[in-house]
Symmetry: C2
Subunit: 251 residues, 2 copies
């Protein structure tokens, strides 16, 4: 392929609640959708608990390997919100109450006649050198340090922060995607589909089984950064489905 | 704590579709729920694409570190189903068409008058030394090798396989969980909650913000392997909420 270098990404979702089953993550799918549109390849996701060593280790592994890293969770005002401190530790810089964030939050609580107490001040903690990610929902900012984007875990806030971050990313060539619904399960199409993938190496063909409780069908997805190879692969897939249907009708 | 050693677990969800946003994972939350009830601590989750090197690396990292590893996805009949081969590679053993699985699947397709073709035979591929995980939904088995449990990605099949696996696991002491709904956001309760956590070290207290589009409230969750410490922490949390409510009413 003659495409420019592809930007890659990883996500680190942080929170005991994701591992205990209490909260079902919604941010991974949201980030995957948004990056897909932006032409940035999400390559890996990790989920770890509110544990400093686990966060530091995962973050250092991911930030060394991918163009961008996005984290969710652990930047609120309570004792289990340790993401800012862990990120600072991963980068080997001090974590402190960021003066700009203190001013921003102080003014907000002042306007509302609410106390800017110790817990709320925790939300201003950031590694030295971080810059803000604005939060249009609830003011307390996320932050960027190096290639790591630190965002909130509450889905509405994560989404708001992500909207602010996306225009700052050097996007790639968006992956085009074409989808063909196959009435036949993977067992019927697998052999032929393998041959089609081999004949269209510029595309990535995935097959996603669906099960309705009785029988399998398949969604076949062709992904490619250019249109012509995807169209050619789609044509072969439609022919394959026609042949299988004809064979079934004749049997 | 005087509890017996805790069994730990990790999950490796496999599939390009999870990273492209096309499929929103449902299996992680399902596994988290089931392990929580079984008293096994899910410590880490990773999601990787249909990429052999990525699967091998993640699997080797996780299986060395945790009591159990559970994978989802990539054991179907198509070219992008490479999990069995990748798992064999991680364990340094050959991957072959398992004779028992071939017999099981062959008989099933025979009964249905369907061809047991090359694609369907892929579903019988397992590392040498693996044992089956039964699949009550669609017959094609998952497998266990070492501490790694390889299961399907289709949620109905994943769930069926997981039900078969759970009774085989050496469970731990289930984590008890008590939940207190706080009408106040984390900013109001954070400072006091930090003190309560410090006073109840046998418990793990988490706070989970909810945002209704207008204001934050919090779900406070106390987790403990014994009941008495959780009850004591819950009492202090209820007192804290009463105090904050009284202070707000007076102001």
């Amino acid at each position: 392929m003659s495409s420019p270098p592809i930007a890659t990404a990883a996500m680190l979702a942080i929170g005991d609640e994701l591992l205990s089953g209490r909260t079902k993550d919604k941010n991974i799918g949201q980030l995957a959708d948004v990056l897909s549109i932006a032409g940035i390849d999400l390559k890996e996701v990790r989920i770890v608990g509110d544990d400093e060593a686990a966060i530091v280790e995962a973050l250092n592994a991911l930030r060394a390997r991918y163009t961008y890293v996005f984290t969710s969770g652990g930047i609120g005002p309570t004792h289990d919100d340790i993401t800012a401190d862990a990120v600072a530790k991963a980068f080997g810089v001090p974590c402190r109450h960021d003066p700009e964030a203190m001013a921003l939050l102080g003014a907000m609580y002042d306007r509302r006649g609410m106390e800017f107490n110790e817990a709320r001040q925790r939300m201003a903690r950031m590694p030295v050198g971080a810059t803000h990610i604005p939060n249009s929902v609830s003011t307390a900012p996320g932050f960027v340090i190096g290639n790591v984007h630190v965002m909130a875990g509450v889905p509405q806030v994560f989404t708001a922060m992500l909207s602010a971050v996306v225009p700052t990313l050097a996007g790639g060539v968006p992956m085009l995607s074409r989808s063909v619904a196959s009435p036949f399960g993977e067992g019927d199409i697998g052999t032929a589909l393998t041959a089609i993938q081999k004949n269209h190496p510029e595309t990535s063909i995935g097959s996603y089984p669906r099960f309705d409780g009785n029988r399998f069908s398949t969604e076949i997805v062709i992904r490619s950064r250019e249109e012509a190879p995807a169209v050619a692969a789609e044509r072969d897939i439609l022919s394959m489905i026609a042949e299988i249907a004809a064979a079934k009708a004749a049997s």
